[in-house]
């Protein structure tokens, strides 16, 4: 395979070996092999590595303590990937790294094997020049991210003291269409739940709907009572814990590239919710909580009509949370709201979720990350206050400043066939970390 000009040969070679390991956590494949490969690689760079057992797949903790370190940094990554299926949709074998058309293709390159490799390559590169770099380096690599990190919470609770640092670099990130690095400063939390109503012993002829309680009607009223067409959530106290947006937040929101016309066309939407636009629209996407209906079900859903009065009805919801809302807090407010508003019989089931995670955009250490990103790319980076989606970022962000910066692009196809990153992002990713480690070493 001819090497692209700008690429670090060690980085591409290491990535190729790493991608070859089919570390599909959902299928329990390649777990040991991944741990062994990474342990060797860390050791080769002078790290002390420990493979720590969990109730699931092991976590690797690698550390290189710098005597007289000015600061410490921890990188969170995961060695597992999504299943490669459907195989027939791949242009090249998923577990072989292929360089073609300015991109690197293979399962896991974007999510998130290349991210780990560029970080290691940056460490290798910089330590070769500055072996006395006054930064303590830590890597935490888990093996269950793609199956929901079921054991990460317990791991963090036990081992936090071993990896807590001045900064956590999250697993991934991307460049915008105009080539600026995103700095992901957190993610919204989420509360998944189901609301279920049972009003009768069995379905009845709908003519009885004149006198019998109707589960679907009651569900409609419950939901309409949660949020009206003004899009304001009506659960008492819902907004109370929400941190106020700062002028610095509004400033970064203004910087986020967001082509409203193009996105609306792509979504096939008539307009944005509540007619918002500009910074107000981005504020809603990146900074505000939301209540979503994922599914509604009741009664007859087949062809034609059926004169049935359904005995039950249910809705699946997700509530997107922002600091300092919590899944438990919102669940408890919702229970109170239902009880007070005449729906004590509505069951809340399948409630689970994550709290939100967020590092302030004007945190001093984030300024160092921004300077590193600008030094590497020549362009002002784009801080994203919170990703609209949710994940277990809070496990780290609750304890240290956190930022996601990485090698993705808008067409990286994470989780899909033909997953890829660009060669340029692979090169840049390494350079960003070199600059960042220098920033961490500075005054």
């Amino acid at each position: 395979m001819p090497l692209p000009v700008a690429c670090d040969p060690w980085a591409l070679e290491t990535l190729t070996s790493y991608v070859r390991i089919p570390s599909v956590s959902a299928q329990g494949r390649g777990i040991d092999e991944s741990c062994e490969f990474l342990s060797r690689t860390f050791a080769g760079l002078g790290f002390r590595v420990e493979r720590i057992a969990t109730a699931g797949h092991p976590v690797l903790l690698a550390e290189r303590v710098a005597p007289g370190a000015r600061r410490s940094i921890v990188f969170y990554n995961h060695y597992d990937v999504q299943p490669p299926e459907p195989l027939e949709l791949w242009s090249s074998p998923p577990f072989e790294t292929v360089v073609r058309d300015g991109r690197i293709w293979g399962r896991g390159v974007a999510d998130n094997k290349a991210n780990l490799i560029v970080r290691l390559a940056a460490v290798r590169d910089l330590l070769a020049r500055r072996p006395d770099l006054p930064v303590t380096l830590r890597f935490l690599v888990e093996g269950e991210e793609e199956i929901g990190s079921p054991n990460l919470g317990a791991f963090v609770a036990t081992h936090l003291h071993r990896f807590r640092s001045d900064l956590c670099i999250w697993e991934n990130g991307a460049r915008t269409l105009d080539g600026r690095l995103e700095l992901i400063l957190g993610c919204k939390g989420v509360l998944h739940l189901e609301l279920a109503l049972h009003s009768l012993g069995a379905d009845q002829h709908s003519s009885r709907g004149a006198i019998l309680p109707s589960a679907p009607w009651r569900l409609v009223w419950v939901l309409a009572g949660l949020k009206d067409a003004d899009e304001r959530v009506r659960i008492q106290g819902f907004y109370d814990p929400v941190r106020a947006t700062t002028p610095a937040d509004r400033e970064v929101l203004a910087q986020i590239p967001f082509d409203e016309a193009a996105l609306r066309a792509q979504y096939g939407a008539r307009g944005w919710l509540g007619g918002r636009t500009g910074i107000d629209l981005r504020h809603r996407l990146f900074c505000e909580p939301a209540v979503n209906i994922n599914g509604l079900t009741s009664g007859y859903q087949g062809k034609g009509n059926k004169t049935v009065l359904p005995s039950s009805a249910s809705a699946k919801l997700d509530v997107r949370l922002v600091p300092d809302q919590t899944p438990e807090g919102v669940r408890s407010l919702l229970r109170g709201h239902l009880d007070r508003s005449g729906f004590p019989d509505v069951e809340i089931t399948h409630a689970q979720g994550y709290p939100p995670a967020r590092t302030p955009v004007d945190h001093p250490i984030i300024r160092r990350v921004a300077r590193a990103a600008e030094a590497a790319t020549g362009k002002t980076p784009v801080p994203i206050p919170m990703m609209p989606a949710s994940g277990p970022m809070y496990l780290f962000a609750d304890h240290m400043p956190l930022v996601g910066v990485g090698t993705g692009n808008p067409d990286s196809r994470a989780h899909a066939p033909d997953e890829n990153i660009t060669v340029e992002d692979f090169r840049l990713g390494q350079e960003v970390i070199v600059h960042l480690l220098e920033e961490m070493a500075g005054d």
Copy 2:
């Protein structure tokens, strides 16, 4: 088969032959055979019979004109029955009439072969004694009731002048648990429809729900705008055509046996809609319109959760109508309501239905029916202002007074295995018609 003491041998013999014909309209079986059998029977009783072709199964029109008739009466029946399946759940072969435990068993005995036979037996019985009975007798027997009477409207439009009478006796009826004959004076109308919403080109990740329109939320608001928890329909003008309830109506409502505690337990309901009770509860069931949700569907409905923002949502509804509401009128009011309330994009599809049908409880000819019922049973009958369910009764009731009185019982199992009537109801049914014909012949 030993004859039960009180039974008219001709009636039981004729019913047995009639039940033997497997006249399943859904399967196109026994149609010709039914027409031939009934034509012979009518002719044997001195009727002029015509078999009239329709776009589906033929309609039989039988008439016996009485010179110098005081009044005329038309009986509506159907010769078709529901399919007998599942056969294994029958205690005896469905197309054999079996007398056992004081009941007559067989497919169609309750719905509605025995009803036709007792009417014919009454005519036969009375004419033997009063050949000059001054009442013109008509029978209309269709063959598609069990598949929704798709050609009955066109038939009535063309042939009404040939059977329009002073009174129409509808196909069926029943006795209450305390042995009183129900007089069914009409039925509610119905408008079936589906409300459908499409808000996006495709489903999206639910994190986008913060800024993108949500089809299920909009559906919730549309429905909540149709009816609030106070159970009052909010479509402007919906109640305007509703005829006021008369003191006579309230009097008959008070007479309807309705064991609220037993029924609530049977339905497994915590309470009645809006906390109604007594006459107010019966008024809602028998005299008021209602909007029912038959089904709700949107997004993910499987196990666990899925973070999806559904692109579409829909609801199946039926609106139960009372005089003088019409399906077309309510559909048009609903369209206007949606357009005015910010939901012009909500589609109304699959709209179809029947208008309501109702003969006033204090109509003079209904008093004759009530006297006949009382004379036969020794008990005050129970007028039912309107059945809560719907059917094509309006085709007749719009043109003449109409009442349903028949041989059913609360456990007749129409449409189900082990369909039956009681021997006593079979005897009584004949006697009621004898008395009724005498009433029709009186001053």
